[in-house]
């Protein structure tokens, strides 16, 4: 099979076009600088290639394909979280702050958010179990949770916190209970999704790929 005839939808396993074929890795809005990928020119002959180079290229292409799959999964996950408003553009700000001098910035901030939120949610559970409820203290906790969720871009958590604060203002016990359940639920969702995102990122880096983080914009 020649280059012209081979039109694989997935990884090409059989023909000689493997060694030249690479996939363009330009994601919408993202530029992947370190991971190679240029489209090979169709129709180029590989008569000059020897076997050793073909082996290296096959291994390299398989590596690239794994990374490609992982990157696609990561990009799809990020896009869906933004579309579903689980995360908002503030999360993108965090990603823009991550660079070679601060390579785990997002993970660090988000980890602090997880710990801090878990503490706040435990304390809120205790407060709401009391009788009478200290609504001022509850509101102060929700205010903190709202602030930190806003800072990392956890939009749904923040939205529930806004509703929660209204229930505190109205001293609505049942409303507060419902909001607590909802905020725990939303927190659990964003935590699971972000943990999955970090796992994907680790796999990509381990496979020699690079993270498709948005470039810092010029303001």
């Amino acid at each position: 099979m020649t280059m012209a005839e081979c039109k694989p939808r997935g990884p090409c396993s059989g023909c000689a076009c493997e060694s030249e074929e690479a996939v363009v890795k330009k994601r919408e809005g993202f530029e992947d600088e370190a991971l190679v990928v240029k489209k090979g020119e169709g129709g180029e002959e590989e008569d000059e290639e020897d076997e050793r180079e073909e082996d290296v290229s096959a291994a390299a292409v398989n590596g690239v394909v794994d990374v490609e799959r992982l990157l696609q999964e990561l990009v799809d996950l990020t896009r869906s979280l933004l579309a579903e408003e689980v995360l908002d553009q503030q999360f993108t700000q965090l990603q823009q702050l991550q660079d070679e001098s601060n390579p785990e910035f997002v993970l660090e901030v988000v980890s602090l958010f997880f710990e801090d939120s878990e503490r706040l949610l435990e304390e809120l559970t205790e407060f709401l179990a009391q009788d009478p409820i200290d609504y001022v203290a509850v509101d102060a906790h929700v205010h903190q949770l709202k602030g930190s969720s806003s800072s990392i871009g956890a939009q749904k958590v923040k939205t529930v916190c806004i509703k929660f604060r209204k229930c505190c203002e109205e001293e609505d016990r049942e409303g507060c209970q419902k909001c607590l359940e909802q905020v725990k639920q939303e927190f659990s969702v964003v935590k699971n999704k972000l943990e999955h995102m970090f796992e994907l990122e680790q796999k990509i880096l381990a496979a020699g790929g690079s993270l498709p983080y948005p470039e810092e914009e010029e303001y």
Partner: protein, 211 residues
Amino acid sequence: MELLMELSSKMTTNNYPVSQKRFAAAISSIPEAHVLAVDDSIVDRKLIEGLLKTSLYKVTAVDSALKALEFLGVRDGCSTSLRPNASQVNLIITDYCMPGMTGYDLLKAIKDSTALREIPVVVMSSENSPNRIESCLKEGAEEFLIKPVKISDVKRLWSYIRNPTKAPCSGSGETLGPSPICSKRKVGSLEGLQVKSNPESQPCLNGVIVA
């Protein structure tokens, strides 16, 4: 062949794209400025550190207004012998809502101090309250930022730091004349203010100590 070599070299290089801004800044002649950040939220302290460091500021982050004053060498509203720290701080950025001493109280304490009043202060808050904004500006804050703080907010902070290598005060704590650092005071005016629309506006829970 060329493509293969490029492929293998790219796969072994640094996994993170070099920030263009950092590169440009590294080769520029912008001097380093020291910012004191004050916020009781651990998440926000981490965020503000990240935001400031990306603009090549040196950052000291503390979790309360009292600790900020200690760092600056002021106790009980009086200047003690001025610590070297104070003379090295080029900007203070503080949260408004903090338990105990608020960011507004801190702003007032700084502007009431002959040793510290020339240090520009920026206040941050999640609440978009015109009264709060106006009172901070009247008290001498350079700007009032609505949280969450973004990269674009931080990039503007340079305009408040006229001379990063110059100490705002002398070591002896004498009152100095007007400093170029505070040439941009917005008193009683909301002009040029960073205000974003926020449908929620709640009073700050001053004085509530949260465990």
